[in-house]
Amino acid sequence: MRLGRNTKEILIKNMFLGVAALSILIILFIFIFLFKEAFPAFREMGLSLFTSDWSASQGKFGINAAVFGSVAVTGIAMLIAVPLGIGGAIFLSEISPPRLRVFLKPVIELLAGIPSIVYGFIGVTVFVPYLAKTFDMLSGYSLLTGGIILGIMALPTIVSISDDALKAVPREIKEASLALGASKWETIKLVTFPSAISGVTAGCIMGIGRAIGETMAVMLVVGSVMRIPSPSFDVFETGSTITALIAGQMGEAWGMHTSVLFATAVILFLIVALLSVASDLLQARVEKKFRGG
């Protein structure tokens, strides 16, 4: 049978539609299957998941310590990465000589690709002994160590995206500001940066998402102890994060324990998905702003 030209075209179009819809399906499948595995935990434990008491052998599964650790580690990372990253992006996009930029931009992108296990390895072999010595800590494994490593890791992402946002500001706006007699720095401070602020924020949110979801680098250096340090600001203590909890315990978990770990993964997935959508909306706003819809 020979298909008509139009029938064939429609078939092909629908085939591509199917392939394109696959990414929606994957996201749905991830959520459904994680939730299916996590369901017993949600049903049995309910809100008692959110307590601070974790002891897998006694069947106590309160994940607060991991959530606290994730927030603390991400917070420290952002304290390091956001100011430095934005500064670096402004340097790269506005004041570096073009020749240096042509070299630096790909280098920073390249550095964004360093695998997280390499950061974890360097964390254990270099940072942990160094911090143990500098702060005279017992072991050097701490929330602080995790935060510092994550901060370094998040830098290239934040620089790269913020740089794109700053570059997207149309030249006419900057030139108008310069023509009015503003200095280059005044233009950056009062015109370029404010115009790019939503893109820069999107970059920072993506950095936060990457930091929260990071597993290998953090797991190896935070100590993986399910306990909220007391007092809670004592970041020199060991702790754990959601990702470290999952990766560290999934291997030997069974029954309810496994289900609880899946439940934490559901929570992690929801947090990161929300951050992705937020950063997406911000970036859409940037495009609307400069491309006139």
Binding site: F91, I152, T215
Partner: protein
């Protein structure tokens, strides 16, 4: 050079030196001593005082002058306060030793005061015009980029220096033995290569298909928006979540195997392939398509014969960048595809494999317990070289491709 300019330059120099000393003492965890610390702050305060009369005359906005008075006062205050601060302050009761607080306080004071003082020196140097702000801002931004590149450079040089000597022919071609302390990493190397090869086979058709649909068939509309959001969420999904997904779905079907790992890695790299392919297809000028339609070609013929061939290098770039990520990921495969001990070169798709990142994870866990140092550094170096090599290839391809259009 006027005396005022010389003095300003001196303040800038002194401030930068203080910041450097602060960093140095933090990095080396030593205290520079009461006398030296006092001397630095007093010097800074006196220099600022000496500049005050000229500054008062020059500054059009008295605000900048007030700042200089404040800075001078602050440095005298610090000269008095910091060395006499009791050594046991603050976190003593917690997990950090109090006797170390002194160097921490002093280096913090130096690192903060130094740059601020230096920026104060720019005011008189540029006669308090707007260029003063510009100069000091530029200095800070330059320092920011250096601070970004420093740790990253340190990581790479540390790994190269320690890892390169361990890369020998035996290391690359022998089996793992004694918890990785002896022997080589041959199975891990082969496993990683097989894994990324199979990942490419999965991600390439799916990624290109999705990109073609988004760019050629439907450019806007609700469905397209939903697809784009899904791709973005997929890109942000933590790799450990991918790993658990694989554990829940693929491991029951295919066991802990090369196939399970490659499927997960395919999903992981899909968003990167889609994004880069979209960019490549978008860059093909509309006129070329219209020319093809004008000759009577259908949409599919146009895509296949006119749009795809010139877009192909861009698409391949996307796949290369995606594979760069897949080669380095550990979390997605740690429950779905790998064994540390006992895994050999796989005989079929359903055999478990060994992979470089997971091998490095195990060696890091054994760090200190077994003599794995040399092999661990060498593995880290090899992994870093492979991943950065793939990424560099992708970036170079892309830059070249972008220049063409």
């Amino acid at each position: 050079m006027k005396p005022k300019d010389a003095l300003s330059c001196w303040i800038i120099f002194l401030g930068s030196a203080m910041a450097l000393i602060g960093f140095g003492s933090a990095a080396g965890s030593f205290y520079i001593g009461d006398a030296l610390l006092r001397l630095l702050f007093v010097l800074l305060g006196i220099s600022l005082l000496l500049l005050l009369p000229t500054s008062f005359r020059l500054a059009k906005q008295k605000r900048s002058f007030c700042w200089m008075v404040a800075f001078a006062a602050i440095s005298f205050a610090l000269a008095y306060l910091v060395p006499s601060a009791p050594p046991k302050v603050g976190l003593r009761d917690y997990s950090i030793d109090a006797s170390l607080m002194k160097f921490m306080i002093s280096s913090l004071a130096l690192v903060i005061t130094g740059p601020v003082a230096a920026s104060a020196g720019f005011g008189p140097l540029f006669n308090f015009t707007k260029h003063a702000h510009q100069a000091s801002a530029y200095c800070f931004l330059t320092i920011a980029i250096l601070l970004i590149l420093y740790p990253l450079g340190l990581i790479i040089s540390e790994i190269s220096v320690n890892g390169l000597p361990g890369i020998t022919w035996e290391f690359l071609t022998q089996d793992v033995s004694k918890h990785g302390a002896e022997g080589g990493i041959f199975p891990a190397l082969v496993g990683t290569i097989l894994l990324i090869g199979l990942t490419a086979l999965i991600a390439l058709p799916l990624g290109i298909g999705c990109a073609i649909y988004l760019q050629e068939y439907a450019k806007r509309g609700r469905l397209v928006r939903v697809i784009r959001t899904a791709v973005n969420i997929l890109q942000g999904t933590p790799s450990i979540v991918h790993g658990l997904f694989g554990l829940a779905v693929f491991v029951p079907l295919f066991g802990i195997s090369l196939l399970s790992g490659a499927l997960i890695m395919g999903f992981l790299t899909l968003p990167i392939v889609i994004r880069t392919s979209e960019e490549a297809i978008r860059s093909i000028p509309q006129e070329i398509r219209e020319g093809s339609y004008a000759l009577g070609a259908t949409q599919w013929q146009t895509i296949r014969k006119v749009v795809l061939p010139p877009a192909l290098p861009g698409v391949i770039t996307g796949v290369v960048l995606g594979l760069g990520r897949a080669a380095g990921e550990t979390a997605p495969i740690m429950f779905t595809a790998v064994y540390f001990m006992g895994a050999r070169v796989p005989g079929s798709l359903l055999d478990p494999i060994q992979a470089l990142p997971y091998h490095l994870l195990e060696l890091t866990r054994y760090w200190g317990a077994y003599p794995v140092e040399q092999n661990a550094w060498a593995t880290a170096f090899l992994l870093l070289a492979i991943v950065l090599g793939i990424n560099a290839g992708g970036i170079i391809l892309r830059e070249r491709y972008r220049q063409e259009f």
